[in-house]
């Protein structure tokens, strides 16, 4: 069918909304509460357009044959102006440093608003400063996107409370986010159009440490090298490993290491753990433990199933443990002087490193965005940097370590080692295509020594409940399950450059898979630095020393 927008005719299908058609044809209708992949809630009313003298929300109004739409009429512009002014007068901007382009300000600018004709709201809410995430209700415009994300994740830590002008987004009974079931995945942060949710910043502490004479070393997660470039104008999916390393060196870190080394280490331990469980047929399915948001989720909602979770620490934490023992001893560094900083795509890691079950292996976590800010603060011109290499020995990694950043990557990396270790044979094909891609639930199987090993990969937490219920009722047919809380995996984490949408996530994903393909060493157990670490220090996977340093336990948390 055909509809007319601003006097031009466009083809469309009957299930499309006016906004769908406008987007397809590059007609810009501003939105605030609209999110791809979610039912439109139609509450901000900014997307209103005029049809037949009436104003209707374009995000939820379905097209009808012959519809005549005007997105720039006097009525539309007046409504847009007033509604934007209403929101601007409610929203209290306090900083200049924003996590992202401020969507409300952009709309105000484009609407030609130069003054707000309503009295400014007073700052009445206390900012909730969590260990990983900070929420500032003074900035909130009640679009509800954060709640939609949290509901999608099946966490439901926050919801609307009170009524009318006093409506507020909050955990139950005004508890702090840290005291709620929030898992710190940061999907709410990525969705917020007005920067009312942002990560707790560790930039100051890291800068301070860098100014001292201490031995500050840094490790970078796989996802960072595939996304950091976006903060400097490079297209999504540009691999900037060399520049990333170079910028970190310029910042003054004594050694630039790679979390992918930690990932390889995790595979060594986790593969051994899985093989053992398969042999004993106990505690199956084994579930991955590298995602701290996932760990917190299961600790809150299914603590009785914690025995199924791998006892392996997450890669950056294993790295920290090795840094503060093996590396420290080998290079004779004073314990008090050694500081480990992780650059992560993740907000939950900021919470993770403060867990009592861990032993301060990592001192600070900076998100990808924070690193970009740090680079800008120091005036380093990122795009002009020459490529540099990681330092040895903890900077060497395999392709298996690289793909940890994407959903299905941990599983694939683990299977490469599990298969070859258990069978003694080489895998013909290292790629497991059935678990690659953006699908939120993927599965497959592999035959190891005549035994069919079924595996599943989940990303985004909304499917987790179903699988956990299956496990609870002893109806789960899988032996090994990977769970990543963020849809798409760590490359879509709460610490990543914004925007992080499906298109961009897919490009970042491709960059990491390509990187794996091009690497000489693609199996964790063939990483010479890893082999050396075991020979010189750990002995073998699951040794007493490995258990002490590289494995952890979990706790039951209240809902």
């Amino acid at each position: 069918m055909k509809i007319t927008i601003n006097n031009k005719e466009f083809e469309c299908d009957d299930n499309q909304t006016i906004l769908d058609v406008a987007k397809e044809n590059n007609i810009d209708i501003p939105t605030l509460c609209y999110q791809d992949g979610f039912e439109p809630s139609s509450v901000c009313r900014i997307c209103a357009v005029e049809i037949n003298n009436k104003l209707l929300p374009s995000c939820s109004t379905k097209v009808k044959d012959g519809m005549i739409v005007n997105t720039e009429s006097k009525k539309v512009l007046e409504a847009r102006k007033i509604n934007t002014e209403l929101l601007m007068s409610k929203h209290i901007k306090t900083y200049f440093i924003e996590t992202k382009e401020h969507e409300l300000c952009k709309i105000a600018r484009n609407a030609g608003i130069r003054q707000i004709r309503f009295t400014k709201a007073k700052k009445i809410y206390i900012i909730d400063k969590g260990k990983a995430i900070i929420t500032d209700n003074n900035k909130c415009i009640l679009c509800g996107k954060c709640i939609q994300q949290c509901q999608m994740q099946n966490v439901n830590a926050i919801d609307f409370a009170y009524r009318s002008y006093h409506t507020k987004v909050t955990p139950a009974y005004e508890n702090k986010l840290d005291d709620s079931v929030c898992v710190n995945c940061g999907q709410c942060l990525l969705a917020c159009p007005v920067d009312a949710i942002y990560e707790k910043s560790d930039i100051k502490d890291v800068l301070k440490a860098l100014k001292t004479k201490k031995h500050v070393i840094v490790q970078t997660a796989p996802a960072v090298r595939a996304s950091l470039g976006e903060e400097f104008g490079l297209p999504a999916g540009t691999l900037v490993t060399g520049k990333m390393v170079s910028s970190l060196r310029k910042l003054g870190f004594k050694k630039i290491f790679d979390t992918q080394f930690g990932a390889d280490l995790t595979i060594m331990e986790e593969a051994a753990e899985l093989i053992e469980r398969l042999k004993e047929n106990k505690n199956l399915p084994m579930i991955t433990s590298c995602c701290p948001a996932w760990i917190k989720y299961i600790e809150h909602f299914y603590p009785e199933l914690l025995n199924y979770v791998s006892t392996c620490k997450s890669p950056h934490d294993m790295f920290g443990a090795v840094a503060k023992s093996y590396y420290k001893e080998k290079y004779k560094i004073n314990k008090k002087d050694l500081i480990v900083v992780s650059i992560m795509p993740c907000t939950a890691k900021k919470f993770e490193i403060q867990r009592k079950e861990l032993k301060k292996e990592v001192d600070y976590v900076l998100t990808t965005r924070e690193l970009a800010r740090l680079i800008k603060i120091k005036g380093i011109e990122f795009n002009k940097l020459k490529d540099e290499e990681f330092d040895a020995p903890l900077g060497l990694s395999s392709g298996a370590g690289t793909i940890f950043g994407v959903t299905g990557g941990v599983m694939e990396a683990a299977l490469r080692t599990v298969y070859e270790t258990a069978t003694g044979k080489k895998l013909e094909m290292l790629e497991f295509n059935q678990i690659r891609g953006m699908n939120d639930f993927k599965e497959g199987y592999i035959i190891i020594n005549n035994r069919t090993v079924n595996f599943a990969v989940l990303n985004g937490l909304h499917n987790a409940k179903e699988i956990l219920e299956q496990i609870k009722n002893k109806k789960c047919r899988y032996d090994f399950i990977e769970v990543m809380a963020c849809p798409g995996g760590c490359i879509a984490g709460g610490g990543q450059p914004i925007p992080t949408n499906k298109e961009i996530v897919e490009k970042r994903m491709q960059a990491l898979y390509l990187n794996d393909k091009n690497k000489a060493i693609r199996r964790s157990h063939e990483n010479p630095a890893i082999i050396q670490l075991y020979e010189e220090f750990l002995g073998r996977p699951l040794s007493k020393k490995a258990e002490k340093l590289l494995h952890t336990s979990y706790i039951k948390r209240e809902t």
Binding site: R45, I82, L142, F160, Y162, R163, S164, Y165
Partner: protein, 372 residues
């Protein structure tokens, strides 16, 4: 009063021998329209809701909350039989076996009595092989829950936020199933239509209150003169205006026909026939501020124009009352009214400015006199 005619469930016996389609035809022919203010043809609504093989629900909207309105209360107190009977007949007509009576929290003192009526009615219906289970759900103090989709949200256990339409409740309502929602007065008329060939569709229940000595519910024909109604209330002072509740707007007191078209021509909405009489000792700006406070308090808070706008309207009116406002504040007020009325998500927001738009139309001097 026609509305208080109680037939002791005779209508149930009559419809037990009728086909559902026949009942719907009968109601269509009667011309019955919704008495909650929206005036949608009831027969059509029944027909739409019937059009599905899924399980269906009937909801009786007893969340009467429009200020100045107390006619449903009268029916619930004096003729609850008809309401319950109407529910069962509607349920039978659309093929539903479950109904909810959403009773506003402030009327919960009527709950026990209503439950007894439901028990009696269910016994009689079951004997007639009509299976319909009614449950009373108490509201908890929210004007917005008078909106039909807000009632659905409320029953489902959510905050009473109205939903965007389409989809309409007849297609996707309670628990996403086809749902018939009708006002209590509408349902109470159904048994009368079934039994009385001479049922008068032109009668309405006018809730009269305000500056009158004899406030009350008056059953009169549509088209009755406003003056006639107000005189029945025995006003002690000269009346200068009437408000059609908070959401219907106001008109200057005059000899006008009380019917939907005549009132619409004046820029107001007759709605559920609520008349609040205002005498000449009253200040229109004060009343406007009082009504603005009502909407600001009752807004559900979900959409920008209503949540933020109703607060700003109150703010500006208070500024005018304190004689601190200038001409540009009045202009801003009018701009706000236009935007809130045209972009609010639900009927509450959309009608929250009628009182002010009409007050500015007919009593503008009372506002401009207070400007700096």
């Amino acid at each position: 009063m026609q509305i208080l005619k109680n037939s002791n469930f005779e209508a149930l016996s009559k419809i037990a021998g009728m086909k559902p389609e026949e009942i719907i035809e009968l109601i269509k022919k009667s011309g019955l329209t919704g008495r909650g203010g929206a005036c949608f043809p009831t027969g059509l609504k029944l027909e739409f809701t019937r059009n599905s093989k899924e399980e269906k629900y009937v909801i009786a909207n007893a969340d009467e909350g429009e200020p100045g309105t107390f006619k449903d209360k009268l029916i619930l107190e004096k003729n609850p039989n008809n309401v319950i009977e109407g529910m069962i007949i509607a349920g039978y007509a659309i093929g539903s076996t479950k109904g909810y009576l959403y009773l506003r929290g402030e009327y919960s003192y009527l709950r026990n009595k209503l439950q007894q009526v439901i028990n009696n009615a269910t016994k009689i219906a079951t004997k007639l092989k009509i299976y319909f289970d009614i449950e009373i759900i108490s509201g908890a103090g929210a004007y917005v829950c008078g909106d039909e989709t807000a009632i659905i949200e409320s029953i489902e256990g959510n905050r009473g936020n109205p939903r965007i339409k389409p989809p309409f409740p007849a297609n996707k309502g309670l628990f996403n199933k086809p749902t018939l929602i009708n006002n209590v007065e509408t349902l109470a008329n159904i048994p009368l239509i079934i039994l009385d060939k001479n049922w008068n569709n032109n009668l309405r229940l006018f809730s009269l209150s305000g500056n009158v000595a004899r406030p009350g519910v008056y059953e009169l024909e549509l088209g009755t003169s406003l003056k006639e109604l107000v005189e029945l209330g025995k006003p002690e002072n000269k009346i200068k205006a009437v408000y059609f509740g908070c959401s219907g707007g106001c008109i200057p007191y005059e000899d006008i026909r009380l019917d939907y078209e005549a009132i619409k021509e004046k820029g107001a909405v007759l709605g559920s026939c609520t008349i609040i009489a205002v005498d000449e000792t009253q200040d229109i700006v004060d009343i406007a501020t009082n009504i603005a406070k009502f909407f600001e308090y009752e807004s559900c808070g979900r959409c920008t124009p209503c949540r933020e706008g109703t607060m700003r309207i109150l703010e500006l009116l208070q500024k005018i009352s304190l004689r601190k406002a200038a001409e540009k504040d009045l202009e801003l007020l009018e701009e706000l009214c236009r935007v809130i009325a045209s972009t609010s998500l639900c009927g509450l927001g959309q009608s929250s400015t009628n009182h002010l738009t009409t007050a500015l139309k007919y009593f503008r001097n009372e506002f401009t006199d207070k400007l700096k």
